[in-house]
């Protein structure tokens, strides 16, 4: 709580969305780095 933790369906959704966004961001960085 207070930005530290929570558990349930909401937590799973948040983790999945953040994970997907983080993963895409990481891939973009890797590709950009490879092109340079």
């Amino acid at each position: 709580m207070y930005g530290h933790s929570h558990s349930g369906i909401g937590a799973i959704v948040l983790t999945l969305v953040a994970g997907a966004k983080g993963g895409i961001g990481y891939l973009v960085k890797v590709i950009a780095h490879a092109q340079h």
Binding site: M1, Y2, H4, S5, H6, G10, L14, A18, G19, G25
Partner: protein, 470 residues
């Protein structure tokens, strides 16, 4: 680039030296330290001067107000805000500046309890903070909506905070208010998870509970204040909405689970499995920050404390949003008394109205289902209304009125429970029951609507200390 450090302090002589030592030990030089000594009666001021800090003595009675008092004296481009009971690693300021130069408008450190602190509540916090570092706060940062800049150590450009008219101080969790105010103004925050700050966490159940109650209240007050901005932002809805969803679903989920387990105790195996999965995942994450031993000790503490946290948040949701009773006191490490403002008159009227409506609906349903005569329905209606009013009255009614109304309700309810046929031959009992119940309802209602001396005293005491939220 000139870096200033702003430290609000209230009687922090015991811990201020180590905080200032850490600030002076930074890899990037800090050119200015501003210490705002708020109502200090110990040696805080003298210690700050020893270290060459600009000292402002004031009597603000709150963190944000103290920070605001110090803001005009800040001359740096980058403002690092640190709590006086916090020490930061030597590279924290350097990492903050790198984040700000990289496009962030504000950034913050990950916090941990002081390494020398021990005990159940500290072990729980150590685990929770370590978990947040690479899970919850990482997730929030990924979607671009950090729930709160860690109040103990964060940084932003001085012009940024000046552009939102200084540090917002109307709510009891001013760090969250600042964070959400920055979002409203269009600023971007980041989470600098490599920067570590160590702070004194509550070591006893009493102080821990006070802090959690304040944090929980602050969360709901902040949502109330910034609700339009939250609703408009998909990222905010994801971060805040997911927390609220989990919180509100919790009673339903656990009621369902407990019922299931009572019917078939073997289903406990699913609970054990879920705990094991949670433990394995979180263990892998937290051991990137804390030691194996701290993780092994911390998990059971974290797991148990989490139940307590959820209970506090759920109750706070009811108190802040349904009862409209707001937490208005500062109860930090120094353990000041908790103060909660009384319910407003419109809120009382609304709640009694809702209770009466529920009672009416319930009584109608009961009468129709049982095909009982009108007087019995009337008793039931009054009993439920009085019970609801009395139950609500526990939150702000003087004790003697609560007791009288409770007795009336109990008498009436008892007659109703005995299904009136036992006294059906005697009209007198029916009338007595009706009178008693009516007294209960009227007594409770009057106690709600009347502004008694105690409530008036509380209200005047808090005038100006917290802005009305509704």
């Amino acid at each position: 680039m000139k870096i200033s450090v702003l430290i609000p302090a209230h009687n922090e002589a015991d811990v201020l030296r180590e905080c200032l030592d850490a600030v002076l030990d930074q890899t990037l030089p800090v050119v200015e330290i501003v210490v705002v000594a708020d109502s200090c009666t110990d040696g805080t001021t003298e210690i700050a001067r020893e270290y060459g800090a600009v000292v402002i003595e004031t009597e603000q009675g709150g963190k944000a107000a103290s920070q605001d008092a110090g803001l005009p004296y800040v001359t740096g481009d980058i403002l690092v805000c640190i709590d006086a009971d916090t020490i930061i690693d030597a590279d924290v300021v350097e990492k903050f500046v790198a984040e700000l130069e990289n496009g962030a408008d504000a950034t913050c450190a990950n916090m941990l309890p002081m390494p020398r602190q021990t005990g159940f509540w500290v072990a729980n916090r150590r685990y929770a903070y370590a978990l947040g570092r690479f899970w919850w706060r990482w997730c929030q940062a990924q979607v671009g909506r950090l729930m709160v800049l860690s109040g103990c150590a964060y940084a932003l450009r001085t012009e940024t905070v000046r552009s939102i008219d200084g540090f917002p101080g109307k709510l009891i969790t001013c760090d969250m208010d600042l964070t959400w105010s920055l979002y409203e103004a269009g600023y971007k925050t980041t989470f600098c998870h490599d920067a570590l700050a160590y702070t004194y966490d509550p070591e006893t159940f009493k102080v821990y509970t006070k802090q959690m109650r304040r944090w929980a209240s602050g969360f709901f007050q902040n949502f109330q204040r910034h609700k339009l901005a939250v609703v408009k932002s998909p990222a905010a809805m994801l971060v805040v909405g997911s927390l609220l969803l989990d919180l509100l679903m919790m009673p339903v989920t656990y009621a369902f689970a407990i019922t299931w387990m009572i019917r078939d105790p073997w289903t406990l195996k699913w609970l054990a499995t879920s705990i094991a999965i949670h433990w394995v995942i979180s263990f892998v994450i937290v051991t990137r920050t804390i030691t194996w031993r701290q993780a092994i000790v911390g998990f059971p503490c974290y797991w148990v404390a989490n139940w307590w946290n959820k209970g506090i948040y759920l109750w706070t949701f009811i108190r802040e949003w349904i009862l409209g009773r707001h937490y208005v006191s500062w109860t930090g490490r120094q353990g000041k008394a908790t103060v909660i403002a009384p319910m407003s008159r419109p809120r009382k009227i609304a709640l009694i109205g809702v209770a009466a409506a529920i009672a009416l609906a319930g009584a109608s349903w009961h009468a129709r289902a049982a095909e009982i005569p009108l007087p019995e329905t009337a008793i039931l209606l009054l009993a439920i209304t009085a019970a609801a009013a009395v139950a609500l009255s526990f939150f702000c009614m003087p004790r003697y009125l609560t007791l009288s109304a409770s007795l009336c309700t109990a008498g009436g309810g008892g007659l109703e429970l005995n299904q009136v046929p036992a006294v059906a031959g005697s009209q007198l009992f029916w009338y007595l029951a009706l009178i008693a119940l009516a007294m209960g309802v009227v007594g409770a209602a009057l106690a709600y609507l009347g502004e008694d001396a105690q409530i008036e005293h509380q209200r005047s005491a808090f005038a100006g200390s917290a802005a009305p939220l509704f």
